[in-house]
């Protein structure tokens, strides 16, 4: 049994330098110094994008209003898959372990230490003593078992947590504070999964008491306690005065600084902006790019670009349909679509360009694929010529009497990106039809392959999640490029089970190279969440998964 108190998934740590000044420095514009070339097969140390916690005690007290762009569906971690729910739940619950946002290692949470058998199938967790749920019941090994058993129970109908625990077999309560978890199959991302709030530990007593309505009456062990949820208006959480079991990387110990946080869901961008600018809310999520620029220039607010790990915002090209069934046409896009111009035109240059399927702030990012397809209009044109697409009379390329026309299906809020793509591909002789739709429709079209181009980013702290968009088992799901490649499937399957980090990194690199060599997708930019934060709010920084803020660390001036 290999014993480790804190599993080391990265061999080397890189120190980061903070860019920017003042409070805004917390943000995600942290830039890493140019790194010496790493041996490509070794687990690459990613570029963390969250700054270390600022030292110095904050002033306790006060409250903030926090605006999201929609209301959560449920605050039961087992029953939701929504980002807005994660945001609130991070304050209400603790996980067994936490991922450090700076060195990306896993640190103690509700579990103080853990060990695993060399086959990676059995994991024993020593739990923290003296932790109480908000309803006063004790946290113990029984609670861990009850939560995980409930997640995998089909009656729970879990949309996200159950897939994170797909490999779960059972939990054995060894003693009150020792839980032994057995897996059915090897699962390399197990610790990562445990660090995500979807697998947070809730009070089994409260789950029994509220039954189906538990999601409206959440009870965790976290720094904030649930107070009320007025549907379509607000969710209020208040300070847990007993809290003293946060992860070691937080900026203080003991209870949170804030007395109260009120979460509101405001879907209308204009209303959310007005509420923020009039001082009604102190933190605003999902600032529209155009307004972000304006608010930043005003100098009145802390404007935060919080990078998310996982896959960059990527265009998926439907390989089952002409013209993208021809690799030459896909390569023409890879060379002919100018990322920087796209980011400038559609997003005011707010995001950084990305050119591989695993973002460079994510575990196992490999540099090998970086720069494979530099912007080169001539090369792009040559690929199109080779594919038989010749310039037509109106500038649009033609082959066998067919015009080179593709449909780009995307979300209405992403329309600027689609329109910029349309403009940037026009000189190549490609006509792009803009199909801007709502989420439910465009996802259904992607799943059915109705269209040529689709786009999404993938938010996950573990890069193995790219299988969701590249593995053939997800054809009819999010495999929007409609890739059916046995070799790629094997890399993705093997990496998911590989306990050795070096070997896992190599497998993921092979997968990435396979995707890039076949030009199956076009990574555009590193996805980030845009926050507007009042200057009164101190120590605002975000979590590595999906960039949710650690409101525990926040204090008011």
């Amino acid at each position: 049994m290999s014993k480790r108190s804190s599993p080391n998934l990265i061999t080397r740590r890189r120190f980061i330098k903070i860019g920017g000044t003042g409070a805004v420095a917390v943000l995600a514009v942290a830039c890493a110094p140019a790194a010496p070339a790493a041996p490509t097969a070794a687990p690459a140390a990613p570029k963390p994008t969250t700054a270390p916690a600022a030292s110095g005690a904050g002033k306790p007290g006060g409250q903030i209003r926090y605006a999201m762009n929609n209301e959560p569906d449920s605050l039961d971690p087992a029953k939701t898959a929504q980002a807005s729910a994660f945001n609130v739940m991070m304050n209400l619950y603790d996980t067994l372990i936490w991922q450090d946002p700076v060195d990306l290692k896993y640190k103690s949470g509700l579990a103080e230490s853990w060990e695993s058998t060399p086959d990676g199938l059995t994991h024993t967790f020593k739990l923290r003593k003296g932790v109480k749920f908000h309803d006063g019941t004790p946290f113990n090994a029984e609670a861990v078992k009850a939560n995980f058993d409930r997640i995998v129970d089909p009656a729970t109908k879990s949309p996200q947590a159950a897939s994170k625990l797909a490999a779960y077999q059972s939990t054995t309560v060894v003693d009150e504070f020792t839980a032994k978890i057995t897996l059915k199959t090897q699962f390399a991302a197990f610790y990562d999964a445990l660090s995500q709030t979807w697998l947070a530990i809730a009070s089994p007593t409260a789950q029994k008491k509220f039954g189906d309505d538990y999601g409206r009456n959440p009870v965790g062990t976290g720094p904030m306690m649930f107070k009320e949820w007025v549907a379509k208006d607000r969710i209020v959480v208040v300070k847990n005065p007993d809290y003293n079991w946060g992860p070691p990387f937080w900026n203080h110990t003991g209870p949170a600084y804030l007395d109260q946080i009120t979460f509101v869901g405001i879907s209308e961008n204009g209303a959310r902006l007005t509420a923020f600018e009039s001082g009604e809310i102190q933190v605003m999520e999902t600032v529209p790019e155009g307004d972000f620029d304006r608010l930043k220039k005003s100098g009145k607010y802390q404007m935060v670009v919080a990078r998310t790990p996982g896959s960059p915002m990527t265009i998926f090209m439907n390989t089952e349909k002409a013209p993208f069934n021809d690799i030459n046409v896909r390569k023409a896009i890879m060379h002919g679509l100018n990322r920087t111009e796209l980011i400038n035109a559609a997003f005011f240059g707010l995001y950084s360009p990305a050119d591989t399927p695993i973002a460079d702030n994510t575990l196992y990012h490999s540099k090998k694929a970086v720069g494979m397809y530099p912007y080169d209009m001539e090369k792009a044109k040559k690929y199109l010529e080779d594919a038989g697409w010749k310039p037509g009379p109106d500038g649009v390329r033609v082959k066998n009497g067919e015009k080179l026309v593709v449909d780009f299906v995307d979300l209405t809020t992403y329309e600027p990106k689609v329109v910029a793509t349309q403009a940037l591909l026009k000189p190549l002789g490609i006509t792009v039809n803009v199909k801007a739709l709502d989420q439910a429709t465009r996802v259904a079209m992607g799943h059915k392959g109705e269209g040529h181009m689709f786009s999404t980013a993938l938010l996950d702290s573990d890069p193995g999640a790219i299988q969701l968009v590249y593995h053939s088992r997800n054809l009819g799901g999010f495999d929007w490029s409609r890739i059916k490649d046995a070799e790629l499937d094997k890399y993705l399957d093997d990496q998911a089970k590989e306990p050795d980090t070096t070997k896992r990194a190599a497998l993921l690199e092979q997968a990435v190279m396979k995707i890039m060599e076949n030009a199956w997708s076009f990574p555009i930019y590193n996805f980030a969440r845009l926050f507007g934060v009042s200057p009164k709010v101190k120590n605002f920084r975000t979590h590595p998964i999906g960039s949710y803020p650690y409101l525990y660390e926040v204090s008011l001036e």
Binding site: N70, K232, M445, L459, G477
Partner: protein
């Protein structure tokens, strides 16, 4: 009267069944996967998606799903929201007070402003006052409510900082949404009151009343207005329905609680049980309001009687 009401209520049943079938099957024609209601913006695996579809009964044939829905609805159970994982009826109950409050406040504004402006314009036709009030009414009819709402937000929240931009709690959060919503209805009521009252004022009995020496004010309010109000009442009833519909936009613009915002979330999320429930509820309200309008004729005009 009692038989009449009973008959009308019985007639509402096939209407509601028709509406529910129409909504149910037209929702199925709308593109988009109802699984979005459950998974939101998350990227999930196909196996998980298939498992969830099965678990939530989304794979059942359409007519089975509809019959299940009707069977439960008859027993007063509108099902559970896919998105919010709780009974549809609870969702409606939670949102109803805010919408009623907004609609009532908007109605008060619409009636006061609309009747006031309409009467003013009618007693001095073709005067400057008439021109002014009718211009305001014209603006009220033509400006879309979301635009008026955004303008009010810009002026009173952002520029002046007098009123909060979003939320539901408290009187100060009701002013702007109610004014926006009431404005359009006020305009229609004003125009109708004016034309209806003008017509009545030209009747012979008005001339008689004036000739008898009654004061102009007494003639307008006691004799003319009562007769002029019949078409206005019909419109006010219809406006009540329009206000409910308008709440969809207003509640979204001002991020207020309410049935309208609930419906928008439900439609965008393809939360079919919730859409069904809300529409069935709103349809029932329409039916009842129409009945009340018809009954109110008898109160205003004693010549009308229901058997």
């Amino acid at each position: 009267m009692g038989t009449y009401i009973l008959k009308r209520l019985l007639a509402a049943i096939p209407i509601l069944i028709g509406i529910s079938a129409l909504v149910f099957f037209s929702l199925k024609l709308v593109p988009g996967d109802p699984l979005s209601a459950i998974t939101g913006d998350a990227v999930i695996g196909k196996e998980e998606a298939d498992r969830l579809r099965e678990q939530y009964g989304l794979n059942d044939p359409l007519h089975i799903q509809y019959l299940n829905f009707v069977g439960r609805a008859i027993q007063g159970d509108l099902g559970r929201s896919l998105q919010f994982k709780r009974p549809v009826i609870d969702e409606i109950r939670a949102q109803l007070p805010a919408t009623l409050q907004l609609t009532a406040a908007a109605m008060v504004i619409a009636l006061t402003v609309g009747l006031g402006l309409g009467i003013l314009a009618a007693i001095r036709p073709h005067s400057l006052l008439d021109g002014l009030t009718m211009s305001i009414a014209m603006a009220g009819v033509s400006f879309p409510s979301f635009w008026v709402g955004l303008m009010l937000l810009l002026i009173f929240s952002l520029a002046l900082g007098w009123l909060p931009a979003t939320g539901t709690e408290g009187f100060e959060r009701l002013i702007m949404p109610a004014a926006t919503l009431g404005f359009g209805a006020a305009a229609i009521i004003a125009r109708l009151t004016r034309s209806s009252l003008l017509e009545v004022l030209q009747q012979q009995y008005i001339v008689t009343a004036r000739a008898k020496g009654l004061s102009f004010v007494k003639v307008v309010f006691r004799h003319a207005l009562r007769n002029a109000l019949i078409p206005v009442v019909t419109i006010v009833g219809l406006q009540f329905g329009n206000l409910l519909a308008g709440a969809v936009v207003i509640e979204t613009v001002f991020s207020r609680q309410g049935i309208g915002r609930l419906l928008v979330t439900a439609i965008l999320g393809r939360d079919f049980p919730l859409v069904q429930g809300v529409i069935l509820f709103v349809a029932s309200v329409y039916v009842i309001v129409n009945l009340l309008v018809d009954l109110s004729y008898a109160l205003i005009d004693p010549r009308i009687r229901y058997a």
